[in-house]
Amino acid sequence: MQYVTRESAFHRLHPLTKLIFAVVVVALAVLTSDTAMLAVLVGAVVAAASAGGLARDLLRQVPLLLSLAASLLALTVLTIHSGETIGHLVTQSVPVIGGAFPVTAGAVGLALAMSLRFAAMLFAFQLLVISTQPRDLVHVMDRLRMPVDYTLMLLIALRFIPSLQLEGKRIHEAQLARAYNPGSGLAGKVRGLFPIIIPLVSNSLGKAMVLGLTIDLRGYRSGRRTPMCDLSLARADAAGICCMGLFTAGYLAALLV
């Protein structure tokens, strides 16, 4: 997940508008566990991405979200027993252990709500990241008088996502060249972790030190930043903020009713 050079409606918005959008979506997502409301929220974010021509970028996260949803479902089914029982992981016809691990409506509902909440947050954050150059984001956070350490933490986190992906790819290629073939399935994935994770963590720690020093030496703590391009709110930002306001009002009204 990183900035994508493109001419989309989202790219043209002021970074502050996009930051407000992400914060509002996160706030609305944590306000309720109602799956219908959360589904509406996810739908609204995807619709906004479609209008901005970035829906395809969001869809790349779907496999990750599906695997997350599956993990959450497994966790809630094993740990939560509330509401109507809608089935069993082990069918009752199996001798001795038949009927074990009941699947309840409460467990499924909670897993679904958490998955939708993650989806809304992830999509909103992704829209912000892929359409905003990090230096513009830093500039806006600076103007909002956010503590410089938090701003730099966000900058480093954004920088490390593609860097880790790239380093992981390099390491994977280096191990493949040694006939490394971890096999398929869960067992293969677990077996294959060590030759990748150990160099990845070791190399990343070394790079983090240099990255931190570079940020300091380039004066990110100077507090006298002048953006090279004009960053001012335009009509599109006003329209975007109005839309967000209307949606938020409707969403909150629906929650209260």
């Binding site: 150059q133 280096a174 073939n181 990748i196 070394g206 990255l211 006298r224 002048t226």
Partner: protein, 503 residues
Amino acid sequence: MTPEAGRGTALSLRRVSYTYPDSASPALAGITLDVRRGEIVFITGPTGAGKTTLCLAASGILHHEYGGTLEGTVAIHGKDARDYRDMGEIGRHVGVVFDDADAQLIFTTVEEEIASGLENLGIPREEMQQRLRRVMEATGIADLAARAPHTLSGGQKQRLAIAATLALGTEILIMDEPTAELDREATAVVSALLRRLADEGTAVLIVEQKIGELAAIADRMVVIEDGAITAVGSPAEMMEEPAPQRPPAPAIILPTDAAPIISIRGLTHRYDNVAAIRGLDLEIASGEIVVVAGENGSGKTTLIKHLNGLLRPTEGSVIVDGLDTGSVPVAELARHVGLVFQNPDTMLFAKTVADEVAFGLKNINHGDPGRAVDAALREVGLLHRRASYPRALSRGERQRLAIACVIAMRPKVIVLDEPTTGLDVRESRRIMEILARLRQDGHTIVMVTHDMRLLEEYADRTVWMEQGRIVHGSRTYEEEPCLRSCSMSPVRVPFTASTRSPN
């Protein structure tokens, strides 16, 4: 140097000694060194001599960011490094280029990378834009402005890291191996740029293994060994000592009618819509040492990744030892082609050196991994380190271990991507002697390098690439004096097995 530029000391180290935390011996031992305004000081020395630590000391990083035991004083513009508030304050006077270009690129486009530092200087917008344009043109990356830094080649990343630092316009520059991955042309551009900055009054401290163009522009050359200065002089005096000559290798008789072990026909490779290789033809005979050279971003690494199937051709074919690398699985190709990456740390993960070498052997179900491990470690001179932790080895030893991991699997073809980057002359020579011995044993060696000396001494044949094509080739470097000036013929010369070394 202009007379007015040469006044005053910008950097001053007095009896600086430093020992890293958890280390018994000092990395620096009583270093005293001044760098005046308008002066270029070139530091060199063997791998592990303390050159990078010297850069960290001179830039005040050891004082502000590291633990360990530090003695002596470092003054920046006459003020003790300890008295600066933090690295941000030092950064207004000192620009540092670290040896890991990748780690110091933060942003999402080349332009943003350079502009971000300028924005923190609080200078007028027009001046920022002028500086941005000037520095991009001066470092030859103006055409890469919209590219994402992580998609650049190693040399392009290094040029960008230099540009981002130069744009800050600091009066002191400290550069740790700034040209390690640059081709000769880019090195010349950077050298001329640094000389010009020094002539305008900038103090420059450069650490490099390569004693070439950068040393030639220096005012003083300093050699450090075991953390101490062992020689100081003008580059002209110090470069007079002749390099030790390699004894001539026994001649290899290559059968002239043999089928090539590597055959590349009409190879094209595109990343998204960008063609990195364009219709390339190449044949390499068994037992050759072939060097792939060319400027940064010319497609060298893309080419060699096709030899073991890490990349598949967009068009054309690559046949190695009778196998089509476009369709055979990488794990199967690894029995025939070994690839040693530029940075050995991308592969080291085991608890011991022996386990590290055994990893590949187990992957190919080798019958007697123990014996093969010992043979490979003996070959690279690391048998005595078989129980050591791989990441605790020196840089040169780690590179030799990476080679051992590959040769243990006895592939017929060994491919190496910049195997001597970051190594001193002694270690580089040691690596090349290993490769020369492997060639004697019948292995074919394909190697990417920018090191002209290695190319001259060891290559049977050099393939020169430019913009994804082979633009020139020679049997040996010595036979093609035109290559000494790096001039490249625009004429595409296809290579066949019949043009191989007369050896």
